[in-house]
Each structure stands twice: as C-alpha cells, then as structure tokens.
Symmetry: C2
Amino acid sequence: MDAPYRPKITRTSRPLTTEVEAVNERGEALATPIAGEHPLTLYVDKREIVTLMTLGQAPEALAIGYLRNQRLVRSIEEIAEVQVDWETESVAITARKQIKGLKQKMKKRTVTTGCGQGTVFGDLMEEIDSVKLRDDVTLSEDTLYGVLDAVRRHETVYKSAGAVHGCVLFDGPEIIYFIEDVGRHNAVDAIAGQMWLDRVDGSDKIFYTTGRLTSEMVIKAAQMQIPFLVSRSGLTQMGHRIANQVGITMIGRAVGKHYLLFTGHHRFTKTVMPTMLA
Amino acid sequence: MDAPYRPKITRTSRPLTTEVEAVNERGEALATPIAGEHPLTLYVDKREIVTLMTLGQAPEALAIGYLRNQRLVRSIEEIAEVQVDWETESVAITARKQIKGLKQKMKKRTVTTGCGQGTVFGDLMEEIDSVKLRDDVTLSEDTLYGVLDAVRRHETVYKSAGAVHGCVLFDGPEIIYFIEDVGRHNAVDAIAGQMWLDRVDGSDKIFYTTGRLTSEMVIKAAQMQIPFLVSRSGLTQMGHRIANQVGITMIGRAVGKHYLLFTGHHRFTKTVMPTMLA
C-alpha cells in the first residue's frame, strides 16, 4: 500500500523561552524565563496572506492549520511545500495547483479578522450548520480525569514562563499533540495542521485547551469533527450557544477532580461507584 | 470657554453575564453565570470594516478605540456620530468629513490582522520609533501596591463568570476606567476610545491589564503615550523587546505585594523603609 500523500515541509522551531533580567519586590535582580514571540509572514504562491505572532513551536503545522481553519485550502493534497525561514521570518507555501478563489477569499476575510476582533465568523456560522459530530462515542469521567492529570504532569512553557496558551489533542487519556503558542488560535490552528499532516481523524478525539471556550474555539473544534471539548477555563455566551447548536460535549472549569459539563451530556458517562449499585 | 468637541453617541450595553445550567462532578445541576459574547459589526459611512466579538460593556468606546488603534482615524474630531444597534448587532460610525485613504488603509490591513494572528504590526513598528514617553513622571512602589489592591477589590465579570480580560486606566492609585471584554484587545481599544471621548491625556497614567504583555499590548500602551504598563501575567520576548525600545516602565507578575520590574527602571521609585535610612 502506498503511503498517503504528504507535502514536503521544513522542520524548524524557535527556542521556546529566553531569559531576561527583572527586579523583584525585594530589589533582587532575577534571570526570568519569558516566552518567545516572533512574527511569521505566510505567503501562498508568493502572495502575502497574513503575519502571525507565534511562539514558533510548530510553524509548519501552524501555517497549514491556518490555511485549513480559514478555509483557504480544502485538503492537505492541495499543498506541495511548506518552507519556513526564520531569517526572513516567513513561511512560503507552494500549492500543487493554483488555489481557486484565493483572492476572493482574502477579500472577504478583510472585514472579519481578529482576536475577539473579527474572525471569519459569518462564513463559519453558515458552515457550522452542516457539521454532524459522531454520537456513537463516549467520554467517561475516568478518562476525563486521566486527561486532566496528563495535562498537569506535562512539562510546558507555561509552567516556566507563562504568557502562552496550550492546546492538546487526546486519544482517550493519551496525549497525541501538545502545542503551546502566544495566541490561543495559533495553538488550535497548529493542531489542525498537524492532524492533516498525520491524517489523524478527529471524530473520536478529545480537544483540551487552557483557554476560554469562546465561539471561535467551539467552531474550530467542531470543524475538526471533534466531539469532546475540555477547558480549565470558563466559557462565553456564544460559545455556549454554538456548542448547543452543534451538539458538542463541552466541559469547562476542568481542574483536578472538578468540572462543569455544559452541553452534549449524551456522550458523557459518569463513573458509578460500586456502593451506588448496592 | 466652549466645551471640547464630542461626537454624538448612543449609550448601550449588553447584560454582562447570563446563566446557563451545568452539571458538576457531584452530579448537581448548577445555574452557572457565563460572560456575554456578541458580534458587533462596525460600519464607517456605511462601509463594513470589521466584526468584533465583544462582551458589550462599552460598545461605543470600543468602536472609537478600534478605529483609533487601527489608525483608521487620527482624531476624535473626525467622528460625527457613533450609533450602536444591538437589534442588528451593528455600530454605524459617521465621519464629519470623508475619511481619507480608508479604502487603502483597509487593504493594507488585510494581511496583518488577528490575535497573535496578525496585528497591524508592520505599520505600528514604524510608528513606535517616533513615540517618546514622558520621563518626568514616576511610579512609586506604594502607588503600585495601591493599584493592585484597587484591582483586587473591584467587582468584575471575571470574578463571577471568568472568560474575560480586564484593562484598567489608573490616575495614581485611582481607577478612571475598568473595562472587561472577551478579547483583551477589545478591552484596551475600549479604553483608548473612552480616553478620546473624555479627552484624557495618557502621558502620566498607569495602564493595568489582566492579560499577557505581548507586542500588541506594549505597542498600544505606548501609542496612548502611557509610560506605565502593569500586568498580573507574564510577558513575551517581543513584548519585552519593544518595551525596551520605547522605554516604557513595564511590570509583570504583579499580584499582592509581588512584582517583577522588567524595563524602564528610571521611572520606578522603591519605597525606602525608615530603618534603611538609619
């Protein structure tokens, strides 16, 4: 059997933290680790698309995932090469065939970008109506606790330097990808890109994020066909509305042995203690 | 003396929190407050500019501040009216004269927007070189502690529902504005808008944010001429670099009686205990 198609990509990443000096309240000068942040300008067939500010942990996957989540490309087969060059702070993406309607899509995007500022919101809301998540998969409370424990034990930039968000793709309680970035949308985009590269099907996976469950986070998880969305943080009104609409199983405030199950109760199975069966 | 010019604006805000039901780990159904999140589409003279996702606490100030921080308008005098209509989830901004080069500016913005995804980065970096912050103002450690205490005591959406960031403008230890939003850039933009509306000069003020000190946050504070930037969170490498470049007094990890002073030491005065003078 032939291996599935995979674009040719560089494998670059930046040092994730660096140290600067800071003076604390006792007047002591301390070497303090801080998170990296670098501009990375995306070009598709030499056309400038966007400049992302990124930690630089997985820049190739980020570039691919950005194009995926912005709906600028429809499949990994459309991409021939992804070449990151940190000297010029750029990533050159080469398409196998000319990407149709790129200019038109870029134009539409103009009015709807940002961080809580924008989003490709209008188009995505239309698309979300066609998303159908699997209903034959379940998440047990034990697996949820396993997920939270795995996150807690993982070594992270956040623990040493803060100032980043993490997104994690889980297969049961096992970590598949753990990606951090200075922007939480970069972290989820990088996971989307890596899933495409590795042909990972999202339809039975668990998506964990340290960030809040806003509309964009719910939309992106649903678009990746992922039925389980878990966060240690809270959620917003529109995040809740869209989660209800698409029927995703959404759990917030999940830390240690605590959680709040907000939507998609039908896929969640609570551990039944033996004493409760007596 | 005539009152300074002020555009005609609506005064609308959305309910900041709403309640949804969630089930916790003990199987209890709880009414849980969650933060509002609403799309708000900005139109300038009927031209669609952007759709922001916002908590809706100060939508008029947000619209004005967005135009200010994106450099789409250069002064509050350019704006005649700001009319928010939550029925249509839109804000109509009317200019007093036609805004020059709006189309060109919008075009340039295409490639550089976002949340860690983009920014109007290139242009802003050029501009930042011309920013000169005041050096004849100081922040004492006592005032810093007063700021942190005022933030701690303030009633917030964050305390009840989480999922928002807060930005606060201080005059010494006194709060001038405390604005929360689902996007941290919205919160800082709304403060920028309110400062224009009220003709507040930033050059001796303190800007506090619950969010991380990334490049965009430092750039926006500097553009408002604010010499003091304080966060309870950490910072990124580029935030640090730009803070150094522009000479802003930047303090991170500021909670209770702890802080880390990163840059702009010359404006910070440490409290000298009487015993140290003995």
